[in-house]
Amino acid sequence: MIKGFFVLLVLIAGSRSFGDIVPPKTLNAVSDSSKVSFLAVGKPSFIKIKGEGKNVTGSVTVVNSLVNGSFKFPLKTLSTGIDMRDRHMKEKYLKVETYPMAELKLSEINLPKSWSLKNAELKDVAFKGTMTLHDKQSVVSGTFEMLKGANGMYNIKAVFPLKMTEYNIEIPVYAGIHVVDSIDVTVESALQ
């Protein structure tokens, strides 16, 4: 009987530890529903330069309460709504023919222990990542949010600042207007 009791204890302990192991889950970006946007400021006159890029690809992997992932997008898709400005941005400063892609790698975002894919809502979670742009890498940090969308999809949004000079990008100057070094970047993606 005692032997049976110990076997029962082992089985109960075993079932509890098996229940704690969550298989990794990879979510892939839906390119059509993903975009990168940025806000830069030109001075004087506080000119607001808003741009968007598309064809974002990437994925995030959730292992227990850790998230890793990476996103890429082709810089040639960037547009600010004014053709001349786009040409200068892509040809003169970003040099997209030489450095066509930008990549953001998310490194080990710690999610609350109560988080699960069934209860996926997250707001203002701090994250650190590595941005690769213009053939240079630099650490970026910002905030990350996640919402459950329709049809089993998840919508994420990562917001962070970056400085152009950290990527050896020359500060854009045009017609007496210079762009402030720090720009705000937002990556939005639908994942499934």
Binding site: V41, K43, P44, S45, F46, I47, K48, I49, K50, G81, I82, D83, M84, R85, Y174, A175, G176, I177
Partner: protein, 351 residues
């Protein structure tokens, strides 16, 4: 000189100083404003073409230190009602403007054809000022220019411009402090005199304007004015908005109240002035708009009512050129029940 085009908020350009040297907008263009006249304003055009003299000499090396501009405007007008038919060609304006930047100081002046009250012409300047930028946001200006009040619109015949003292060549001698920030624009002006009118009519005033940009596409503001002359005292208050709903659709609005006391009779007069315009850029450089104006300069006297409803087209085919036409059905109570059809065509060349 180019005219103010506040509708550029549609492109997130919420500060007039993006395109113009003047902190209140209008007038000679900055180098960036010149490039936008090709890229954003006109149907066709190149960056070089937007430069002075159509880029004949490329981009002048002095273009950031010395901004040059000029302006020629002609108007063909036709009006008709049951009493009159009148066609008139008006040579409105021919002048040049220059703004010289020396460190934080800017010296600006126009020079060209001026018109006396008897319609005789002379050469002179209706706008000149010294502007000092203490910081990127804070500036001080002294000279002759329109004090900041309401929308700085090119059409000086609008009720909210013409009938409130902001008609063509009615710029005043002012001392102004300005703050041009990320979202906030604020102005405080001391209006001293206009030298070209009789002393009894010269008004001294204090005026203020505050505006706030929302979502980088909407700008709303309020203005206040308190002034007096030997003949009257008045206070004006107004609200205005420049709303860029989309890159194509925009709305301009201004309403003003005026309280005026005629000193000789001690009679008090309250007036209301209204301007609304919906515009749509249906092709790059081509706009259609609907417009409504209302004025009752004495709320106790219905004969002081004026109304105009109409619409127009604006066309900027290439940098330096503007063509505009407008039709209005106008009603002026004081002249009886006549509805007047007014059509005008404006040809505008800016250097």
């Amino acid at each position: 000189m180019a005219y103010a085009f506040p509708e550029m908020v549609r492109y997130n350009y919420i500060n007039c100083t993006t395109c113009h040297v003047s902190v209140t907008g209008g007038g000679v263009l900055t180098p960036y404003g010149r490039s936008l006249s090709a890229e954003a304003l006109s149907s066709f055009g190149s960056e070089n073409e937007a430069q002075i003299l159509h880029g004949l000499f490329g981009t002048p090396g002095f273009s950031e230190a010395l901004n040059l501009g000029g302006d020629v405007r002609d108007l063909q007008m036709y009006l008709e009602n049951s009493s009159i038919q009148q066609a008139q060609w008006i040579f409105m304006q021919a002048e040049i403007e220059g703004a010289l930047h020396i460190g934080k100081l800017t010296l600006d002046s126009t020079f060209g054809r001026m018109v006396n009250s008897d319609q005789s012409n002379y050469l002179g300047s209706h706008q000149y000022y010294a502007l000092y930028n203490f910081t990127e946001e804070i500036g001080g200006r002294i000279g002759r220019f329109y004090a900041a009040y309401g929308l700085n619109m090119a059409d000086h015949t609008l009720y909210v411009r013409q009938d409130l003292g902001f008609d063509q060549n009615q710029e005043t001698q002012n001392l102004e402090a300005s703050y041009i920030g990320d979202r906030i624009n604020a102005y405080l002006s001391g209006i001293m005199s206009r030298g070209d009118i009789q002393v009894t009519q010269q008004e001294t005033a204090v005026a203020g304007q505050f505006s706030y940009a929302i979502l980088d596409r909407y700008k709303v503001g309020t203005s206040i004015w308190s002034g007096s002359s030997q003949q009257m005292k008045r206070t004006m208050m107004g609200l205005h908005g420049i709303l860029g709903f989309t890159k194509q659709l925009y709305f301009l609005s201004e309403i003003d109240f005026q309280w005026m006391t005629t000193l000789a009779t001690s009679s008090e007069n309250r007036g209301f002035y209204d301007f609304q315009r919906f515009g749509y850029e249906f092709l790059k450089g081509a706009h259609a708009y609907l417009q409504f104006q209302f004025e009752q300069s004495n709320l106790q006297d219905s004969t002081s009512i004026k109304r105009a409803i109409g619409g127009g087209l604006l066309f900027y085919p290439r940098p330096h050129f503007e063509f505009s036409t407008e039709y209005d059905k106008s009603y002026v109570q004081a002249t009886g029940s006549n509805l007047t059809d007014i059509i005008w065509l404006l040809l505008h060349y800016y250097l």
